[in-house]
């Protein structure tokens, strides 16, 4: 069974310059793993995610990435992802090359990746300027009807990182609730790291439930609360207050760096990050 600490998992399996997808669509975003990547000061990553959300705002702001593939890059329900925006607009802390898609295009790219096809097909990007700024969006002719369809290249990350509800003693992982494109991102990757809320003896998977079997998982780390400030259905809900607070924290470079220093660089792991937040009066 591939159980290890998150620190060891990131140390062993995430390297500078790799293409890394931390997926989770609003739900089950692997924040603790993202912060561990920051803590270990990885650089020049090609970060891939449909919705960069606060997790990539933190990682991009911390200087981990030089490339970003995404389809919607804001603070959901709040506004801008200020760190991502400043990297794109002003190249701070490092220039960030962007590969921009629509959700449907990213989804098709992950599906192709999981299927080990070199491209995905969709009726997509109709009439938009996205193909002009992303030359990877191309087209193909249907061999039956002659019509043109859009293609996207398969997305096959070096590493995909997910957060899930639980793993069993063998390392099988259960995801439940809104699952986004996590399964596709997981199966498209060369390596798969998963943090979970808890390790249980038996998963008690409901029939047709979503499981990633142990033999496709490179490493499992037990990190309770590892999706905070996003949520883990059945464990805790989304910390909307933090999402709102992030708007202020992240708007200013200095304040952002201060936050990063206190809660990421100065803590040894996620548990200590949470302890520090609590010590600073944050109700969590």
């Amino acid at each position: 069974m591939p159980l290890m600490t998150l620190r060891d998992a990131i140390r062993d399996h995430v390297h500078d310059g790799e293409t890394v997808a931390l997926e989770g669509f609003t739900h089950l975003i692997p924040f603790a793993a993202g912060q561990e990547i920051i803590r270990q000061r990885r650089q020049n990553l090609h970060l891939v995610r449909m919705t960069p959300d606060l997790i990539y705002d933190q990682m991009v702001g911390a200087g981990c990435a030089n490339r970003l593939t995404f389809s919607w890059g804001g603070n959901p329900g709040v506004g801008s992802a200020h760190r991502v925006r400043e990297a794109i607009e002003k190249g701070w802390p490092t220039p960030l090359e962007i590969h921009e898609h629509s959700h449907a295009g990213m989804a098709a790219a992950y599906v192709a990746g999981a299927s080990r096809l070199p491209f995905g097909v969709l009726r997509g990007y109709f009439g938009t300027d996205l193909p002009e700024v992303n030359p990877q969006i191309r087209s193909i002719q249907c061999p039956y009807t002659g019509e043109q369809l859009t293609t996207v290249p398969a997305m096959n990350p070096d590493v995909t990182i997910l957060h899930a509800q639980k793993a069993d003693g063998e390392g099988n992982v259960l995801l439940s609730g809104i699952i986004g494109a996590q399964k596709e991102a997981a199966l498209a990757a060369r390596k798969l790291i998963i943090t979970v809320e808890e390790i249980v003896e038996r998963l008690d998977t409901p029939m047709n439930g979503v499981v990633l079997p142990a033999w496709v998982v490179t490493a499992v780390a037990c990190v309770p609360g590892g999706a905070w400030p996003s949520y883990a259905r059945g464990y805790y809900s989304r910390d909307n207050a933090f999402y709102i607070a992030w708007d202020d924290i992240s708007r200013d470079r200095a304040r952002f760096l201060q936050w990063l220093d206190r809660y990421v660089y100065s803590t040894v792991d996620h548990a200590q990050c949470v302890q520090t937040l609590r010590a600073d009066g944050y109700d969590l």
């Binding site: 609003t26 739900h27 919607w72 959700h103």
Partner: protein
């Protein structure tokens, strides 16, 4: 605007809700579209089918979600499917009656920009991006756009087309065989705009009681045409306002609860 006992947001939400019908299948975005769709469901359209791009189908949230993937959406859905399936089997397949979009900017043909102001490679303002919108705009049988009106948001020329409306108008969209009929209504904080059936240009067809047609024209970045007779939209009924405010009150109460991490 004195004497109004509702806000412009409430007026927009109620107006958008009224455009929806029972059993319509709606692909809903977060914010005002979600509020409008759920208001419709809790008033005149109890069997409306709400789909969120996070994979929740037939969801009946008791409180409004703050994100597109709130737990409430999953817990009250008829089913929860993977996101790639939402875009292929449910949207691209042509099963959506109404797509509900917002945007930072719109032009007279209902094209939307939610990507960038200024040059793409040297942005003045970098916006969040297109998300699910390009394919919603393509495939939904019709699209409603909810957007506040000002010369900066209703622009003569878009810096970037993130989602297609009628493109350059005069039938270009249908000539290029887009699957859906495109934007059929813009709900702004001045009233409702609908496309001219020949030129595809959006014209003001209805205004709220508390604004004038002239003020709507002044708040538009292109020379806004109006229909011969601009209807006046009835203000929110007491019932509509009550339902909407209860929805918001329940939402506020639900989301005020502190998050407790199990560590």
């Amino acid at each position: 605007m004195s004497g109004m006992d509702w806000t412009p947001d409430e007026m927009m939400t109620v107006t958008a809700a009224r455009l929806l019908w029972d059993k319509a299948v709606c692909f809903v975005g977060i914010g005002l579209p979600s509020a409008a769709a759920n208001l419709a469901r809790q008033s005149h359209a109890p069997d409306i089918v709400l789909i969120y791009e996070s994979g929740t189908i037939g969801t009946r949230p008791n409180v409004l979600p703050l994100s597109i993937g709130d737990g409430e959406l999953a817990d009250t859905a008829v089913c929860v499917v993977p996101l790639p399936e939402i875009f292929s089997y449910w949207l691209q397949s042509g099963r959506i009656d109404v797509g509900f979009l917002g945007a930072a900017q719109i032009d007279r043909y209902g094209n939307l920009n939610s990507t960038v102001v200024g040059r793409y490679d040297a942005p003045k303002t970098r916006l969040p991006g297109a998300g699910g919108a390009p394919e919603i705009a393509t495939h939904a049988k019709q699209v409603f756009v909810v957007i506040k009106q000002s010369p900066r948001s209703f622009v003569a020329h878009l810096d970037f087309i993130s989602s297609a409306g009628f493109l350059a108008g005069d039938g270009e969209r249908s000539r290029r065989r887009a699957p859906g009929r495109g934007p059929q209504a813009i709900i702004s904080d001045y009233g409702v705009l609908k496309p001219d059936p020949v030129t595809d240009e959006f014209v003001l067809v209805a205004r709220y009681e508390h604004v004038t047609t002239e003020s709507a024209i002044a708040a538009c970045g292109w020379p806004l045409k109006t229909s011969e007779f601009v209807e006046v939209i009835a203000p929110p009924t007491a019932q509509e306002l009550l339902a909407l405010r209860e929805l918001h009150a329940r939402t506020k109460a639900a989301h005020a609860a502190a998050v407790k991490l199990p560590i």
